[in-house]
């Protein structure tokens, strides 16, 4: 087996709010293999972004309470702030959901794209700019040399996200974390950006963590997928296995709730009933049990661990771990 590039072990991140302690990430473990694209899906507020930010140690004001983030033999939760800065933007780059607000409005796009190399490689302005322009060109910005002199507000949303990607890639990082890179964009632009990410992954060999709401994106992009619910991973495995044969009722109802191309398009959508739980005051046992149509008595009592279920998948569910198939209703 290949050695994982990044290994997250039992990561826990909390926020202290006036309503109580928010356990945004509650014992998350996974690994990222070189060159792969790993999807993280889950409802809004389940802790996807905080997981990603915690890897970069940008989770402020949140606190990492425990766990490890192993990268190149180092535990990133323990290295000094100075060493961490050497990782950020150089070894692990991150792009964000809203390209409209993620670029600094008062600096020229080219300058911002060039900045990582100036910081990390100590390149002079001219050299960094040359490489920024060629990177902008590679991500599909037409007449990149002149557009580099534009300010972010002169770019369209799609172009800004391209610029963000270019900014992440100028230092040829080994890991790219893309946090909902297409959510804020138009449908056609979404497809273009996803194509770009796929090309990047192929051409640069950058391992990618792709965070999304969108199961279609996962299906089209990711070899493996992680499903999160209320700060925990509830299911993980190769995308095609998870989609074909979900082993957690949450995944199951997610898949159930989207229209399938091979089914009658007129069948009404069935959203998951109920709301995601508050992360301050989680239900006892399995956090999903109040919304689960397969629950058994044990589910409200004990928290299930993430264990192997079936050939290739992991699931945290008493029902499937006991061998029951998810079917019907």
């Amino acid at each position: 087996m290949t050695q994982p590039l990044l290994e997250v072990q039992d990561l826990r991140t909390v926020f202290t709010t006036k309503d109580g302690i928010v356990k945004a990430v509650d014992g998350v473990s996974f690994e990222l293999l070189p060159g792969e694209t790993l999807g993280i899906v889950g409802e809004s507020g389940c802790g996807k972004s905080v997981t990603a930010l915690s890897i970069m140690r940008l989770q402020r004001p949140g606190k990492i309470l425990g766990g490890k983030v192993m990268f190149k033999g180092q535990d990133l939760t323990r290295v000094s702030e100075y060493e961490m800065r050497e990782v950020r933007g150089k070894e692990i780059a991150m792009i964000f959901q809203d390209p409209m607000t993620s670029l600094n409005p008062v600096f020229r796009v080219g300058w911002q794209v060039a900045e990582p190399n100036r910081i990390h490689q100590g390149w002079d302005a001219k050299k960094a700019m040359t490489s920024a322009v060629s990177m902008l060109q590679r991500v599909g910005i037409p007449s990149a040399a002149s557009r580099a002199r534009d300010y972010p507000h002169q770019f369209s949303g799609g172009m800004r996200q391209r610029a963000m990607i270019a900014m992440g890639l100028t230092t040829t990082p080994q890991v790219l974390i893309a946090d909902e890179p297409t959510t804020a964009l138009d449908v056609t632009i979404q497809a273009q950006i996803l194509d770009l990410l796929r090309t990047v992954n192929k051409d640069f060999g950058t391992a990618t963590i792709l965070i999304t709401h969108n199961l279609g994106v996962v299906a089209g992009m990711c070899e493996r997928v992680i499903v999160m619910y209320a700060g925990k991973i509830v299911e993980a495995g190769p995308t095609k296995d998870v989609f074909a044969n979900p082993k957690h009722p949450y995944t199951w109802s997610l898949l159930k709730s989207i229209p399938r191309l091979d089914e009658d398009r007129h069948e009404p959508l069935k959203p998951i009933e109920g709301l995601p739980p508050s992360l301050v005051d989680l239900p006892s046992g399995c956090a999903f049990h109040p919304r689960c149509s397969f629950k058994v008595e044990r589910c409200s009592r004990d928290v299930p661990a993430l264990l192997r279920v079936g050939e290739t998948q992991l699931a945290a569910c008493w029902v499937t771990q006991a061998g029951t198939e998810l079917k019907g209703a």
């Binding site: 933007g89 964000f96 993620s102 670029l103 600094n104 409005p105 600096f107 300010y151 900014m167």
Partner: protein
């Protein structure tokens, strides 16, 4: 584009200038009664003397005629002569302007130079002791009457120190009449009034920078900057401050008219021979021409202040385009 914008602004400003001076004139015209500026009404003056004196000053004409005459003069660069001492209004203004600029300019400079670092510290160490202390001091700064603060400073640093035979600071004027006027002497006179004025600016602006900095630091692009792996210093002072300072430009621009009128009360308390004090004293004596001149000048500064602030905004904030 820019030229067109400036031109349109200029026209709108013209309306405002005309409006302001007209309102000023009408107010003075309503108030004056049969008063003759510069002449004590004494019983020895016969009504026909008064009428003659008034006619000499052009006050027998209806105010609109007077106004048109005045505007005509202004267009030709002639602000007329003071009705009290006969010297030109321009010479009065030019005489007082350096003093006013010395006082308010110092105060604004100190204000900006102290407010920016204080505001940044408040934002970065939000909730710390230093932050709380600054909050309390600046909330107090909003609430303390400037003239009262002036009196208290005089009481402490002039009166009490002098009474105890200690070195003390002068409490009145811009320089000593006798053997004065050198740089040390002027600075000594400047300390107290500049302290009062700048205290207010510091209170306002440091709060402002603090909240603008907090706002900026919570923006997505700051997270992007951190994700690039730059030092906190670079994040705060390059990516943060550049954005946080933009709104300050407006605020300081709006203080430009304060160069003339903002220090009026302080000038009166400290007997500072500035433009504000001039306007105050001359208004009490119905010196039309002088008051009109100063008002005109002050209004121009208001307009220029707004315009400069807007233009600078455009320089510092690339999103602004003039349409």
């Amino acid at each position: 584009m820019l030229a067109k914008y400036v031109a349109r602004r200029f026209l709108a400003s013209l309306v405002v200038v005309l409006g302001v001076t007209l309102i000023t004139l009408v107010l003075m015209d309503r108030t004056r009664g049969t008063y003759v500026p510069g002449i004590d009404l004494n019983p020895a003056l016969r009504p026909e003397d008064i009428a003659r004196l008034r006619a000499d000053l052009g006050l027998d004409r209806p105010f609109y005629i007077w106004y048109i005459t005045w505007i005509w003069g202004v267009v030709h660069g002639d602000f007329g002569r003071s009705m009290i001492d006969g010297s030109t209004v321009m010479s009065h203004i030019l005489d007082r302007l350096p003093n006013t600029l010395e006082l308010t300019g110092t105060a604004i400079l100190i204000g900006v130079l102290l407010a920016i670092p204080l505001g940044i510290v408040g934002a970065l160490r939000r909730g710390s002791k230093a932050d709380h202390t600054m909050t309390v001091v600046s909330v107090a700064g909003f609430a303390v009457p400037q003239f009262w603060m002036g009196l208290i400073l005089i009481l402490i640093f002039s009166v009490t120190l002098e009474q105890h035979g200690l070195p003390w600071l002068p409490s009145s004027g811009a320089f000593s009449a006798v053997n004065g006027g050198d740089i040390i002497d002027r600075i000594e006179h400047l300390v107290l009034p500049a302290t009062v004025l700048s205290f207010f600016y510091i209170s306002t602006w440091s709060r402002f920078i603090r909240s603008s900095m907090l706002e900026v630091l919570s923006q997505d692009y700051i997270r992007t900057a951190r994700a690039k792996g730059m030092s906190d210093r670079r994040v705060v002072y390059l990516h943060g401050l550049r954005n946080a300072l933009i709104p300050l430009i407006t605020l300081v621009g709006l203080e430009l008219p304060g160069l003339v009128s903002g220090g009026l009360v302080v000038e009166v308390v400290f007997g500072w021979p500035g433009i504000g004090k001039l306007a105050f004293e001359r208004a009490l004596q119905y010196d039309y021409t002088t008051v009109m001149g100063v008002t005109f000048f002050a209004t121009l500064l208001v307009i220029a202040g707004n315009l400069i602030a807007d233009l600078l905004y455009g320089v510092f904030d690339p999103r602004i385009r003039y349409a």
